[in-house]
């Protein structure tokens, strides 16, 4: 098998592995958080892949209880 073919095979295997790891991590985190309800809206105006949504959902769950710099509060009904 030449080098170029080997690299292509490695890339495909790598993507599948990453997808599988993300799904597993997402399920474990969701169970751990035991959230009562989470709803989300995916982009209606562009093509999206299941793997990309899983990765974004995982990122969301990681930031729900312990917000990082990626999360910023912009408005609250408190006091209104």
């Amino acid at each position: 098998m030449d080098t170029q073919t080997t690299k292509i095979r490695e890339s495909v295997v790598s993507n599948d592995s990453r997808s599988s790891i993300n799904s597993k991590e997402l399920i474990e985190l969701a169970k751990k958080l035991n959230y009562s309800s989470l709803r989300f809206m995916v982009a209606p105006d562009k093509a999206i892949s299941e793997e990309a949504v899983i990765e974004d959902t995982l990122f969301l769950l990681k930031n729900i209880d312990t917000p990082t710099d990626a999360v910023k509060e912009t408005f609250s009904t408190k006091g209104r």
């Binding site: 969701a30 989470l38 809206m41 969301l60």
Partner: protein
């Protein structure tokens, strides 16, 4: 539930909400500011007011006087999620919007998630919540059912857990085109169709809504919305 059924339910809800609150969440600008002409042209959703309205409504429905709504923005790695709604069980609801969205999409997504709260609190239909162990199933069904929603076909039913999402999405779109403007929007739509110098983008700028939403409204929602309002 199929698309047409979801559309019917969504219009009942959106039009009830508008009538209930007297459209106080809409901001409008006079068409001719320095004249005695009282017509208003530019209307946009004031999301802050809508958030307070929905919060107060939910407090009545749930008897939870501590309930608050918080908006946060989040930068997603792939930008596939435009908005998310999370109830933490502590009388706080957080609505997340994608940081990379422009103002029009941000406004729409915030309203959609607020409508989600409103729709879910209406007991006119049942909705199915996903447990935490079903999150992958939820993702698959959201992607699949949203595809059905966007194509507006009645061939496939929405997954049970997605029905209220579809209703909230459609109701939000109807909300962006005020009752008193629907005939005007329809006339502008005819100009667009006849290529008379007005475009869907112009309409989007007027109502501060994504062009995608304008096209969807004109193609799939406008006719039934006007019929229910007896606008001819």
């Amino acid at each position: 539930m199929y698309f047409t059924g979801a559309l019917g339910e969504s219009l009942v809800i959106s039009q009830e909400l508008i009538n209930r609150e007297g459209a106080s969440f809409l901001d409008s600008s006079p068409l001719f500011p320095d004249s005695s002409d009282n017509r208003f042209f530019i209307n946009k959703i004031n999301v802050d007011n809508l958030a307070v309205i929905v919060r107060n409504y939910l407090r009545v429905i749930t008897n939870d006087n501590q309930l608050e709504i918080v908006f946060k923005t989040i930068k997603f790695p792939n930008s596939t999620i435009y908005g998310a709604l999370h109830k933490d069980g502590k009388s706080e609801v957080t609505i997340y919007t994608n940081l990379e969205l422009n103002d029009c999409w941000t406004r729409f997504v915030k309203c959609k998630e607020l409508m989600q709260l409103y729709v879910d609190s209406n007991n006119t239909h049942s909705y199915r919540e996903y447990s935490s162990s079903e999150i992958i199933k939820q993702i698959k069904e959201v992607i699949r059912s949203q595809g059905t929603l966007i194509s507006a076909d009645d061939v496939y039913e929405f997954d049970a857990g997605y029905e209220s999402e579809a209703i909230a999405f459609l109701a939000t779109i109807d909300l962006f085109f005020p009752k008193e403007d629907k005939l005007f929007v329809h006339i502008l739509g005819e100009m667009i169709a006849e290529k008379k110098g007005y475009t869907n983008y112009d309409l989007a700028l007027t109502y501060k809504t994504p062009e995608f939403i304008v096209k969807f409204y004109r193609k799939y929602i406008e006719k039934m919305s006007m019929a229910l309002l007896n606008i001819v």
